[in-house]
């Protein structure tokens, strides 16, 4: 589709994701930032609630440590689905959202 910004390559770099786009821009975002902005319905709902100071981490979350992707796969022509190391996998990140969550780098 002409005139649509799309990724040309996506690569893990350090603690995040480096994306080269078809408009010549290169961006970077951390996994932590992506995980914190997971677009799935339950994460959106969780973020809308007031923070619970007594929330106990699940054993899986403790074992996982810092967020890391186990898998990141294209979905259709418009998004990527990330499976995280804590088992969470319902977030589908539209390409536009990835661009919006990333910062331009040189």
């Amino acid at each position: 589709m002409p005139g649509v910004v799309r990724p040309v390559s996506l690569k893990r770099e350090g603690d995040g994701l480096k994306i080269e786009w078809n408009d010549g821009v290169t961006t970077f975002t951390t996994w932590r930032q992506l995980r914190a902005n997971c677009p799935c319905a339950s994460c959106i709902e969780d973020r809308a609630k007031p923070p619970d100071p007594f929330r106990v981490l699940t054993p899986q979350e403790v074992a996982a440590g810092a967020p890391e992707p186990v898998q990141m796969k294209p979905v259709g022509f418009y998004a990527y689905q990330i499976t995280w190391n804590d088992g969470h996998s319902t977030g589908i990140y539209p390409v536009d959202k990835l661009r919006q969550l990333s910062k331009e780098i040189q």
Partner: protein, 269 residues
């Protein structure tokens, strides 16, 4: 996409997958899908028609078919030179399919991946109205070449068709164009009557920046042919409606070749 759902992959042996959609019900999606499929067939293409309307399948009646025993009859069924699949081949027409969304997604997925479609030049998918489970599953897991949006001329139809176009744009499936059904009626006096208003489809196409694929006139024979199992393109190939469908088929063939959806690159983790 449900976790564990298979990723988008080409359907073996199928060159182009075209969705026929509209936000609104009752605009003639199934009629357009059936006649477009037959018009493509008449130009010598190998064509399949998949009825993704799980709750209200129309393909069986339009092709004069009923339920079959899946144990003894392999899918897809063959009629008028097309390969066909529909929920209506498996469920008695008097029985309602009362399913929640995930089951619909599963059925659409099974139709796409478990039916031996190929080799085909075109697989036409007749979508249900709306922008819900069937549409989303298809956008996520079928390698769509593009979508044809069906509308009728009046505003109440355009408002929903616009949503249909927006959905495909959002999921980055190329919209091949807007086709206006039930555009006008030519009376015995030879005069054109714009029963549902005029110019709506053209207005929508211009507004959302996609090609306008043409107008399909009202002809009572369209409904008669649909009900009797032989769509008008095949039964009355010289009628103005059939000619309009043949023109639509050539436009679809021309645009499908130019605008394949662009697959996203894999991530190097």
């Amino acid at each position: 996409m449900n976790p564990g759902q298979p990723p988008k992959q080409p359907i073996p042996g199928v060159k182009h997958v075209i969705a026929v959609a509209s936000g609104k019900g009752g605009v003639g999606k199934s009629t357009v899908a059936a006649n477009l499929a037959l018009a493509l067939r008449m130009t010598g293409q190998a064509v399949g028609l998949m009825d993704a309307d799980i709750y209200g399948p129309s393909v069986p009646i339009m092709f004069g078919l009923g339920t079959v025993d899946p144990q003894t009859t392999p899918f897809p069924l063959h009629k008028h030179g097309l390969r066909l699949m529909s929920m209506g081949f498996m469920v008695d027409p008097n029985q309602a399919v009362i399913w929640r969304g995930p089951k619909v997604a599963q059925a659409v997925q099974a139709f796409l991946n478990q039916i031996p479609w190929g080799p085909l030049d075109y697989l036409i998918i007749d979508l249900p109205p709306g922008t819900g489970d069937a549409q989303l599953t298809l956008s996520q897991s079928a390698p769509l070449t593009g979508a044809v949006i069906v509308t009728t001329p009046q505003d109440v139809s355009l408002i929903d068709a616009r949503k249909g176009v927006r959905m495909f744009q959002e999921v980055r499936v190329p919209v091949l164009g807007v086709i206006e059904n039930m555009s006008y009626f030519v009376g015995d006096d030879g005069k054109r009557y714009d029963i549902f208003g005029a110019g709506g489809g053209q207005k929508l196409a211009a507004e959302v920046g996609v090609p306008f694929l043409g107008e399909l006139p009202i002809d009572p024979r369209v409904a008669q042919c649909g009900d009797s199992g032989e769509p008008i393109v095949r039964k009355y190939p010289d009628s103005p409606v059939a000619q309009a469908y043949l023109a639509l088929a050539s436009t679809v063939m021309a645009t499908a070749g130019q605008s394949p959806g662009e697959a996203l690159p894999e991530v190097q983790l």
